[in-house]
């Protein structure tokens, strides 16, 4: 019995690459906590506690301080906040995420076409030719570059380059997500069953015709799933991009912080969380629907 177990244990699947990666990761994490200096601090504990106490004390809405707790007065305070800035900010945040994902989806899928190696090699399976290398290589490099630069960095750079309107935020989200959607879509296109493509190719169809008649209909469902999955993250990112100075949720958070109105700040942060949760629910519902109809 014991021998069998040992045999079974020895025969378990294992790869040295994964073991090495785990070791590197474990060493890195332990190093950061032992030698990274994250646990040492330059502020004293007392100062920190005072800071925290002041912060927590100011979380209570300014108008309601000194009153005893009453849920109705809190609700009416929240209602005024929503009427003053909340609805407008929520709408802008949502609009930024929608505009960005539509733009990013279009751009990403356009880039995914040259980036998928089967399209680039003219649906000629088995051998990768020069055109595949020249087309798919640069397209993939561009996609990687787009997605490695964070949205916030894109937004920061574009804001000064384009000027203070909603474009920088939309473009920043769109560029980053185009990189991700492009990669995912290219993988979907490459992993489709290739019989339809090959038979169309043998009857003399052009690349574009194969793309439109064999690839797109078969891939559409998965592309839409990715689209909505990325929209969720877009909503999440859109809540903060306003911090750079364009009026949306993040702007009011930054504004409240600058004026030390911590009650307003926490209100907008929680409003952001609520928007993200609503986005998640909508996206989950739509994705279930798409899985059902396709």
């Amino acid at each position: 019995m014991k021998d069998h177990l040992i045999q079974l244990y020895r025969a378990r699947p294992k790869t040295n690459f994964v073991r090495l990666s785990l070791l590197v990761m474990a060493l890195l994490i332990s190093y950061t906590w032992i030698g990274g200096g994250f646990l040492s601090s330059n502020n004293s504990i007392i100062q920190r506690t005072e800071n925290l106490e002041r912060f927590v004390g100011e979380l209570k809405p300014y108008e309601l301080r000194g009153e005893s707790f009453n849920i109705y007065s809190y609700l009416s305070w929240a209602k005024t906040m929503m009427a003053e800035k909340g609805w407008q900010a929520a709408e802008t945040t949502l609009a930024i995420s929608v505009a960005a994902i539509v733009l990013g989806g279009i751009l990403g899928n356009l880039l995914a076409i040259p980036a998928s190696r089967n399209f680039a090699s003219n649906f000629n399976r088995d051998h990768l030719n020069l055109s595949a290398l020249l087309l798919a290589g640069p397209a993939r490099l561009l996609l990687i570059f787009l997605r490695t630069i964070p949205e916030y960095v894109w937004a920061f750079l574009l804001l000064s380059l384009i000027g203070p309107n909603a474009w920088p935020l939309v473009l920043a989200l769109a560029l980053h997500n185009a990189g991700i959607i492009g990669k995912l879509s290219a993988e979907v296109i490459e992993n489709l069953p290739d019989q339809p493509q090959v038979s169309l190719h043998s009857t003399g169809a052009s690349r574009l015709q194969i793309m439109l008649t064999a690839v797109l209909p078969a891939a559409l469902a998965r592309l839409l799933l990715f689209f909505f999955y990325r929209w969720e993250t877009c909503v999440r990112e859109a809540t903060i991009l306003g911090m750079l100075g364009i009026v949306s949720l993040g702007f009011w958070i930054q504004d409240a912080r600058a004026r030390n109105f911590y009650d307003e700040m926490i209100f907008f942060i929680l409003l952001g969380a609520l928007i993200v949760v609503i986005g998640d629910v909508i996206s989950t519902l739509v994705r279930t629907h798409i899985r059902r109809i396709f």
Partner: protein, 277 residues
């Protein structure tokens, strides 16, 4: 696929187009605003993409570290923040993933214990949804006002949403694993804790691992962005150089960030490929 579903498919696309038009309208997005009078700055910036700076673009005091050394140390700091956050969120993710798994907390419990586990399950689920709905930068801002600037709170700000996401993914992984082995051990008298550690956990480890490496990539990006809030990661230097109009230096930092994330991206892809076996 039939005619009805192709009609519904069209509906999805049309709805998307309408949503896009609504958004563009709500934001007053006008293509003309893209081509502003800033064209010369745009040209200056993007033309430096082909010639990133290899040295400082201004006079620096004698004895300043060379730009390359500064860039590498910023990259190293970026890695440190991300790795420290990864450590916390891995532990938190596994722990809360267990507590947020419906198959264990709801299905395996019996009797009075069940009241406790179901309450705990609901509580943990809510908590995880809350911490991952608040963006890491918002956590950073919150901690900044609550505690003042401190590297530990930056790490925790990065780790919180990541923990929420890992816990969600991990609980879903546990719930979706095949239950046959678990039933066998339970039938043989194993406790839910034993089943968790010796049956379910080993089965989900490859997927958890592959996903964690992807999360590390996301943490690296977020860690770089934290620099905009004054921490010594790549974002700090990007902001400083950009504001001084040293576009060559900006591209140097951008390409470093690109290399950093791309390497982890390739690394995690390789791990995913190896783990599929």
């Amino acid at each position: 696929m039939n005619r009805a579903s192709s009609g519904q498919r069209r509906m999805v696309i049309i709805t998307l187009a309408i949503a896009g038009v609504w958004a563009a309208n709500a934001l007053k997005l006008n293509p003309i605003d893209l081509v502003t009078n800033n064209t010369s700055i745009i040209y200056d910036f993007f033309s430096r993409a082909l010639s990133p700076a290899m040295d400082y673009e201004s006079d620096v005091p004698l004895g300043t570290k060379p730009l390359i050394v500064k860039t590498l140390s910023a990259a190293w700091q970026t890695i440190l923040f991300a790795a420290a956050a990864m450590g916390i969120s891995l532990i938190g993710g596994v722990l809360f993933g267990f507590l947020a798994s419906s198959s264990l907390m709801i299905e395996s419990a019996r009797g009075t214990v069940k009241y406790i586990t179901v309450t705990l399950y609901g509580l943990v689920r809510f908590l995880m949804a809350l911490i991952r709905s608040i963006h890491e930068l918002l956590w950073a801002v919150l901690f900044l006002v609550a505690f003042g600037i401190s590297e530990l709170s930056a790490v925790i700000a990065l780790a919180l949403p990541c923990t929420g996401i890992l816990a969600k993914i991990f609980s879903e992984l546990i719930d979706e694993t095949s239950r046959s082995a678990a039933h066998a051990i339970r039938g043989g008298g194993g406790t839910p804790i034993q089943v968790y550690f010796f049956v379910l956990l080993p089965q989900t480890i490859p997927d958890l691992l592959a996903y964690s490496f992807y999360r590390f990539e996301c943490l690296l990006r977020s860690s770089a962005v934290l620099g905009f809030f004054g921490y010594p990661t790549l974002g700090f230097y990007i902001a400083a150089s950009f504001e001084n109009l040293f576009y060559g230096e900006v591209w140097c930092y951008l390409y470093t960030l690109f290399l950093l994330v791309a390497i982890v991206d390739i690394w995690s892809n390789q791990i995913r490929a190896e783990l599929k076996l």
